[in-house]
Amino acid sequence: MSASAKLPRWAERGLLPLINLAAALILSGVVVKILGESPWAALKLLVSGALGTQEGIGYTLYYATNFIFTGLGVAVAYHAGLFNIGCEGQAYVGGLGSGLVALWLGDRAPLLVVLPVAIMAGAAFGAAWALIPAWLQARRGSHIVITTIMFNFIAASLMTYLLVNVLIKPGQQSPESREFGANAFLPAAHELFAKIGITFSPSPWNLAFAIALLAAALVWVLVWRTRWGYALRVAGQNQSAAVYAGISPSRIIIQAMLLSGALAGCLGLNELLGSQHRILIDFPSGAGFVGIAVALMGRNHPVGILVAAVLFGALAQGGSQLAFDLPKINRDMVVVIQGLVILFCGALENVFRTPLAKLWPGRLARSPQPSGGMPVPR
């Protein structure tokens, strides 16, 4: 009846996502059952694989780092009223920026120099890749969903070309760059913990996680506590109101997409500088799309995004464990679950919201039917 029923805030932000998640997991369980495995055993493996060991936790947070970056990217664009499906491409090209810096400075300068330059380059490359779709949306009205999809493909072609023809390590078959100089390696979490006397199992979890947390804090402050954030949210909610208020929607579109692309572009810090130590084909491997799920589930709020990113990280890590231990399941099962979470959190949320809203009937109250104008007696 109404466009979407209203819930109390805690139910909206906490209960509803949990219910949606549960629905996605239950359906995944059905799939597991169809595959001939026990859903309950699979869930236990998933959880223990992701959180049962220090190594598992490390991997979980390593994956989560990617998802925080892309989730924040999707969310910032979302607040400007834009659906940025191009985080995958922006992360890919952004990673190129960080990777080039690492190749260039990795054996020339200390990490303290390499890292800030790599961050700036990653953000700049990612932002640049978002700029053209942003500009086309702002100035020429080209739909950003379609253009960013196109740019994902163009990015893939560009990167393949660069890796196959330009960056490839001479005398090597697989399209990868040479390894970065050791100064460009971000310290792993277990190494950092070791310095303060804590032993932690080795994992690719690295300093980029801290950068992601900082980015999340930055996004929160920027969106909810600054004038720019106010302008961003006005423009995202109501373009006419923005123009009325003297806020230029096209400028906001471009700024928001630049920030969005920059955030996604930082993925290379974790994936390349933190873990792979070289540039390779398709290193974002879908993190840009998972970012959509993360942002949707986290209600486009940094805290929600952190929680959702860890959840998806756990899913990614636990899924590996699942594939390892259950012969009939491979890692693709994780992708199925991701898809289902997006489906329930993003497209089917009214399925549960409407019945849920009946628990708070007062919230359903709507203004009476609009009718034409108003009477002025004479």
Partner: protein, 324 residues
Amino acid sequence: METYTLIVLTLAATIRVATPLLLAAIAGMFSERSGVVDLGLEGKMLGAAFAAAAVSAATGSAWAGLGAGIAAAVLLALLLAFATVSQRGNQVVAAMAINIMVAGLGPTLALAWFNLGGQTPQLDGPGQRFTSLVWPWASTAAEHPFPGLLYAQLLSGHNLIVYAAAALVPASAWVLFRTRFGLRLRAVGENPHAVDTAGISVTGLRYQAILISGVLCGVAGTYLSTAASAGFTRDMTAGKGYLALAALIFGKWKPYPTLFACLLFAFTDALASRLQGVALPLVGVIPVQAILALPYVLTVLLLAGFVGKATAPAAIGVPYAKEK
């Protein structure tokens, strides 16, 4: 003569590449004309490709595969319709969800059922694939470059689905512009309120459109796994659904221009494989990736209004609610 043969062969390859694009693009046309964004072409095709290959492998019949492919795509389309039309969920999100889910589901089921690392078995038995139909005297004709080779390569020598796809263009144009259903379909994509007040169910129309899209995606997916190749492999659509969407936009949501766009995009693809490593006069070697990216670049340019103007159906992407 060598160049001539090369051109003819490239054109023949173009037709083969264009077929799934065209089927998917026309599928998208029905859905988008009704006002529902069809980003889910990719997922529906991929799902159909898996189902068709799996069933064909199990039953030994390509036709059973086709039925399964269509059924799978229609099921996904129903899910999409339920989410976007009945539940008024976000159309882009719903489609992305289905694309991602199917990308995982295909290999997952394939592994569990066939234990071949996420693929279906090679379809090499008789009747497991849609094979090329050779027209009468084609092999004789091929010896005569003109017009014999054209006959042999362009008209003859394709599988049934290719011919069906070709027939689909005039058929869909007729449905869209000459029938009651077409009129209502176009109306609901422009102004669903007008359709509703005219006593026609918006929901019903959109379900029909999405289901048609499902059927056609089913055929397209079946083509990929049982005609163009011999089985299902992970991510075998490789963006063709999005490319079809681009072709649809490039064709301005009209059947014949969409056909043209599909042929153009398919031609760039066919050309890319021909030009791999070939040095051309003046420009030298063109990177394959540049040619492969061309359809996407062209679509962006079109969307930007630099080459023509594409106007989408007015109500596209907006879930319909009775109250404004």
